[in-house]
Symmetry: C2
Amino acid sequence: MSKKLICGVDLGGTKLSAGLFRQDGTLVGKETVYDHRDEQWDEILIIIADLVKRVMRSCSVEPDDILGIGVALAGHIHFKKGVIVTVSNFVHNIYDYPFVDKLSVLLPGMRIILDNDANAQAFGEFKFGAGRGYHDLVFVTVSTGIGGGIIVNDKMLRGKVGTAGEVGHTIIDIDSDVKCTCGNYGCAMALASGLFFPELYRRQLRKGLKSTIGITEASADKMDGQSIEEGMKKGDPICRVIVEDSADVVGSTLYNIYKTLDPELVILGGGLMSFGEDYMNRIQHRFLSHTYEMMAEEMEIKLAETGRDAGLIGAAALVLE
Amino acid sequence: MSKKLICGVDLGGTKLSAGLFRQDGTLVGKETVYDHRDEQWDEILIIIADLVKRVMRSCSVEPDDILGIGVALAGHIHFKKGVIVTVSNFVHNIYDYPFVDKLSVLLPGMRIILDNDANAQAFGEFKFGAGRGYHDLVFVTVSTGIGGGIIVNDKMLRGKVGTAGEVGHTIIDIDSDVKCTCGNYGCAMALASGLFFPELYRRQLRKGLKSTIGITEASADKMDGQSIEEGMKKGDPICRVIVEDSADVVGSTLYNIYKTLDPELVILGGGLMSFGEDYMNRIQHRFLSHTYEMMAEEMEIKLAETGRDAGLIGAAALVLE
C-alpha cells in the first residue's frame, strides 16, 4: 500500500463534499459547499475542481500525492465511458454528459472515476465498513429511494453499462398500481421507500384506516422517513402499517437477491434504517420466512457502518478497486 | 488448448447420459440409460461410473485422455463441497450427500465437478452456444420449472454455497396466492412454468373463462407445456391466457435480471420456448415496456442454441471453467 491519499467527491443534489483519506479510510481533510445547486453542469464541474483543490491546499497535498479521485452521484452512469446518462435529483437535467473527460480538463493529470452513489457506498462498506473481510456482498440503501451495489470476488459488479445493482427498481408486485419514478409499477422502491410515503399514507386513508396524528389526504404530502418514524412512535396505525409493509418488501427483496446471487452478506444502509431494531428484525424475519430450510449456509444481514460520510468515503474507495 | 477430451454427465430424474466431447464442443461419443430411476443414490453412482467407463471404452479413451468430468443435475448443490444438499426430481431423496467424494472413489484419478443443470446449461451456452464471445450473460430456462445461471467476467457466478442464478424462485408478485414448490407464493416459476399449468388452468376456469378443449377442474391436472401449446393452437382461450401471462412474467423477470446485473445478454432456453415466436416476442415486448428509454445500451435477448443435448454439453463445459 503506497502512502498516497485517495480523494472522494460526494455530489448530491443539495450538498457537495470533497474529502481526502488515507488508504486505510482515515479522513485527512474535508470541504463541503452548497452553492452548486442552481448551476449548470459545466459550472458544477468548476465548483468540484475548485473544491478538490481547496481540500488539497488545506492538507498541503500536491496532485502527485493523490492516487485518484472517485466521484459518486445519484444518477444513471455509464461507468466505462465516465458519462452521466441522466440524473433526477438536480435542478438541471443532463443527458450523456461526458463528466470524466470534462473534469479531467479541470484537474489535469489526475485519475478520475465516476460511479453512482449506491455503488460507491457499497464499495466503501466493502473496504472500510461492515463488509471488510468478505468477498461477495450486496449493499442495499433504504432511504428516499432504494439503491444497491454488488461486490463479486472483491470487485464491483457493474454490468455492461454500469447500472447493475439497482435492486430498488426490481419489480416485486407485478399487479401493483403504485407507480415508481422509473415509470414502472410495483418496484420495491415504490412500495418501501421514503419518496412514496405520501402516496402510501393516502392509500391507507382511502382504505379506511384512521390517522391519529391528524394527517389528511391533503397534508400527507409532507410525510417522509422522519415524520413516519415520529408518527410510529406516537402510535399512529398508518405509520405502523407503512413501516411494516416497507420492512416486508425489503425482506422479500433481500430474498430475491439471495436467490439471484447467494452472497455471503447483505449490508443495509440508508436513512430508513434509523426506524430501529423492530424494522431490522422484521426485514430479517421476512427474509427467513422465505428461505425455510433451503439455506445450506446462512446469508448474513448487517447494518452499514460507514455512517454519515458513507457517500464520501465510498467515492474515495472507488480509487482502490 | 490440449487435445484432451471433456466428459459430461447429465443426471435427470428419468434419463442419465454420459458424453465425451472435444474441447471445441464436438460430440465424440454418448451413452444413455434409464435404469437408475428407482435406485438408491449409492447405486446411482455405480451406474454413472459404469456409464462413463462404457462411453470411454466405446471411444477407445483412457482416463489420461480426459481433462475432467462435469456432472449436472436438477438439485440444490453445494458447489464448493461437491455435495448434493437436496433433490426433488428423483425417487429417493437425499440430504447433504457427498456426491463428488463418493464418485471419485469409483472413478479414481479423475477430476469431477458437480453443478446444477441450469448452471451447466448456462456455461454450455457460454462456451458453445448463443453466448460465445460474450463475457457477462444470464441463461434462463423456462420449462417444467424456471432455472438460471449467471456468467460474470467469463466465470460462473455461484455465490457462497453455489445456489446463485435461481431466478425462477425470485418473488415477482408478493400478493400472489399461487404457491411454489419452494413453499413461497408468487415466485416467477409458480406463475409461468409448466409444473403450474394445471393450477393456473383451474384458476382461469374458476374465474369463469370457458375451456374450448373440454378441460375441467378435474382433468386440468394433465395440462403441461405440450398440451397448453396444442390447446393454444386450437384457439382455447385459457391456454392463450396462460401462455400470455407466462410470457409477461418471464419478461418482467428479465427486467429484474437487467436491473440487478445489467448483463450483455440473456439467453432463453427450456421446453416452453417451443411455444414459438409470439411467445418470445411477448417476452421481449414486456421487457422493453419496463425499460422505457432507461437502457443506455441494449441488453440482448437470444434463444439458446445447444438444443436437446444442452444438459450434457453444459456438464462437459464445466470442466473448461
